[in-house]
Amino acid sequence: MSLDSDLTRQSAATLATAIARKEVSSEEVTRAHLDRIAQVDSRIHAFLHVDAEASLSQARLVDAKLAQGVLLSPLAGVPIALKDLVATKGVPTTCGSRILEGWRPPYNATIVEKLMAAGVVSLGKTNMDEFAMGSSTEHSGYGPTHNPWDLDRIPGGSGGGSAAAIASFEAPLAIGTDTGGSIRQPAAVTGTVGVKPTYGGVSRYGIVALASSLDQAGPCARDVMDTALLHSVIAGHDPRDSTSINAPVPDFVAAALNADVRGMKIGVIRELQGDGFQSGVLERFNQSLDILTELGAEIVEVSCPHFHYALGAYYLILPSEASSNLARFDGMRFGIRVDDGNDRSVEQVMSATREKGFGAEVKRRIMLGTYALSSGYYDAYYGQAQRIRTLINRDFAAAFATVDVLVSPTSPTTAFKIGEKLEDPLSMYLNDIATIPVNLAGNCAMSLPIGLAPEDGLPVGLQIIAPAMADTLLYRVGSALESALVDRWGGLLISEAPSL
């Protein structure tokens, strides 16, 4: 396969092969993407931190290793963007918050170490809703990111920066994190692919915690195979993360190659359709179901009755755990300190620092979480939410007893306009209605693009949900569906995005 002259329009797999064959160097590929970032990011604002020299220097190191014949990985030399929630040693990590302005972690997240060992080159840190709290990246302390499909629209959140970087060809790969849909929903509204791995499948060491029992880091790319390749690099047991799964990493790439859904039973979740879902979204969703049927799968309707309560449970569990996880940001050991020097006490300085450093959404959730954990309320709120979680687990278990995977639209709507939902936190929370149950249960899910909504021409995503530890099923089904769609479109959906 010969290389197109525009390196930024290539898939990661194509780039990796070309680099391995010495048809092109990692330095050239990296430079091409840095140029692209310089060209378009002032309009997209996907990146918070880019250090061109550092990236090129990494790339040169990889080239040197490859020249020596050192086998790094199937993605060696390919560049990647990292959500700013990931600790990168010596490189600013803000989590989209002013409270960490200027902070350079003294250590790398485990997944960063894995990426470095695999010869993947970091392009920089991407924008996000502050501390991953949001569905639009509008809650970033550093300004919003713009959707490459329509710059007046949100790219999704909390990982809008990573998704936008991929969708605008600034990077072929990105790392996101997903607590309630923060990888999947941005993927859906930007026409890209994103996967939330099974809880524990990817190490959380070095991923700044939002809700510890829900968070997972995951791969983002423009197609299913690239996503599988990236997932393979970052997955695996980590002794530094007590909740990481201690089992061999399944072969996601093989699963993506085995794009065969014949004989599979695919369940449609009754509770994740209908009211609240945009008509164009449902239209494309149903068309995809037809395609899956054509491909040989059997579509079955299943009911997960407790999914109605998932949003409520989630918006209790997340703020509760987050209120505790964010307590360490107090201006004492790292980050900013707000002290007017007028002999204020430590209690006052902590309070002033957090007041100034945190944005409104973060403060809102901290208070909600503090409230839900308070004595007298614990049982009715946090306690009850954890019990509903058990019921949601049971719903999934019952469903998976009859089907192999489940599907739903990823997001109820396409990308909305920047500013449209900012004043109404509740309406913002509804964006996650389809993605949240998966985080509560801890199993895995993928979002892939299935078309543009007729009414607004914006991307629609379909979510595939598989049982815990069965991430390979996501790649198998996703690959099959993508193949069929790409055939119809004559290329990836993303190639229809407006040029920037």
Binding site: P105, Y107, E321, A327, F334, D343, S375
Partner: protein, 499 residues
């Protein structure tokens, strides 16, 4: 005439409770691999985990769990089949995460007991102290308050060293201890002493109160017989065995005063003052702090298997009470004496001295005699004295060789306590040489006799006892470095007197 204390006992029943925190002597911290060694330059035993840096995650130290299970077994607890860690949320600068990983409603060990023996005038009495729970948590950093007098009050700022943050801390909580009556302070002290000995025997901790590896809070309440239990107070900063006893006693007296005056007892945390022996009001516990406990999501449950528990049970050492009984028999001492030396904190020091080569009687003599006297004088623990079992070995060797008398030995101890050097250094510097060559002694005797001619006459006339005056004079002349018994023998020989 009854003392104030006796009158309080006559009117009230004390109920006490003791919470101890024990720092484990593991190599690494509870949730990270940083060194758990005591000391070290500030902030040099730290990492992203114990500094609470964003993205860091805890991983449980297996040895800490094993130690906790062994402690629970030694305290006759049940080891639960399943439990979790929980977060205790509150803001304080010595806590890097502003929450402490602890155990809340699911402690690892529950429902145990320790039989505590107290020496009383009527002989030893055994009290069964029920143990509510033994659980794991992590220690906090150390604060230095600057700009004031070193106390938090009046400080302009504080300096934090996180070396200690994350060191495994095991909390042992008793159930309310009833029926101790006038022995409440003694039971409290004996419990802590015997708990400490148990921890040492298990090898899980240094348990040095002065170093903070054993910390105590004592809870005290009073009630009139037949009435409901009174409000309890918690007293902190109880840093020695002596303080445990004093704190309980003082608090009983204070509460009685208030109750008799018709005032109520405020449920609060009080601070024990070493200097005055009284307790002062600290923070009010009324409307208890809301710690918003919830299960720690970054850690998975602890589910010790029966096999593991039995493996650990097999590693338990001889039960201290059994060992004490054996030593008592070996040494031929009374129960009262045995309990006294245990509760004075002398047992392990005596055993260590014997292990180092000192005769049992000599070891007991020095530790319960001279050294306890000094410890009392200084209001400190025996083990804080700068005298080691090896020092005693050397001193005893010199005495056995006739090169040191008992009296001179006291001078050596004085030198050791003042940090003047080794036993050999001190003997040399202080010129502690036994004058034992007969020629010098006879010369001194002769001189003394010359000074008191009438004494020689008295002795000759049968008053042998008068020899004591000459012996005394010779001792004085030789700065106590003569062997008094030898002087007496030589004196009588010199006078030609046979006894």
């Amino acid at each position: 005439m009854t003392t104030q204390y006796e009158s309080v006992i006559a009117e009230f029943d004390p109920i006490i409770g003791i919470e101890t925190h024990i720092e484990l002597g593991t190599n690494s911290k509870m949730f990270c691999s940083c060194s758990a060694q005591f000391g070290g330059d500030p902030n040099t035993h730290v990492c992203p985990v114990c500094l609470g840096m964003p993205g860091s995650m805890p991983v449980v130290n297996r040895a800490a769990v094993e130690s906790t299970i062994r402690m629970g077994l030694a305290l006759n607890c049940s080891i639960v089949p399943w439990c979790r860690f929980a977060r205790k949320n509150y803001f304080y600068p010595d806590m890097p995460k502003n929450y402490q990983i602890s155990q809340y409603d699911e402690p690892l060990c529950i429902n145990g007991y320790l039989d505590v023996t107290v020496a009383t005038a009527n002989g030893p009495q055994v009290f069964r102290v029920d143990i509510e729970r033994v659980h794991m948590e992590e220690d906090t950093g150390k604060l230095l308050h600057a700009g004031g007098a070193g106390r938090i009050h009046g400080a302009t700022h504080s300096l934090v060293d996180y070396n200690r943050a994350g060191i495994p801390l095991i909390e042992v909580v008793t159930k309310p201890i009833l029926g101790t009556g006038d022995l409440a302070p003694d039971v409290a002290k004996a419990y802590v002493a015997q708990l400490r000995d148990l921890m040492r025997a298990l090898g899980v901790s240094d348990v040095r109160m002065e170093e903070g590896s054993l910390r105590c809070d004592v809870n005290v309440s009073l009630s009139r017989p037949g009435e409901e239990w009174g409000t309890r107070t918690e007293t902190k900063n109880v840093n020695s065995l002596r303080s445990v006893e004093r704190a309980v006693r003082t608090e009983m007296l204070r509460q009685a005063d208030r109750l008799r005056a018709g005032d109520r007892i405020t449920q609060e945390t009080r601070h024990f003052n070493e200097g005055t022996g009284d307790t002062t009001s600290g923070r009010s516990k009324e409307g208890a702090e809301d710690y918003r406990y919830f299960p720690e999501p970054d850690l998975v449950p602890i589910a010790p298997s029966k096999e593991w528990i039995e493996e650990l049970r097999a590693t338990l050492p001889e039960i201290p009470s059994v060992r004490r009984a054996r030593l008592q028999r070996d040494w031929g001492v009374s129960e009262f004496d045995m309990q006294s030396l245990v509760n004075a904190g002398a047992l392990e020091l005596i055993v260590a001295s014997i292990d180092a080569g000192v005769q049992p009687a000599a070891a007991r003599k020095w530790w319960t005699g001279e050294l306890t006297r000094v410890a009392n004088e200084r209001s400190c623990e025996l083990e804080e004295l700068t005298v080691t079992p090896n020092d005693i070995v050397q001193i005893e060797n010199l005495i056995a060789a006739g090169e040191l008398t008992d009296k001179m030995a006291r001078s050596v101890f004085e030198g050791l306590l003042q940090g003047e050097g080794t036993v050999a250094d001190i003997v040399h510097q202080r010129g502690l040489i036994v004058v034992n060559d007969d020629a010098s002694l006879i010369a001194a005797i002769t001189a003394a006799l010359a000074d008191s001619p009438d004494v020689a006459e008295k002795i000759h006339s049968g008053k042998i006892a008068a020899a004591g005056a000459i012996v005394g004079a010779v001792m004085k002349a030789t700065h106590g470095q003569a062997d008094a018994a030898r002087v007496r023998t030589l004196l009588l020989e010199h006078l030609g007197i046979k006894e």
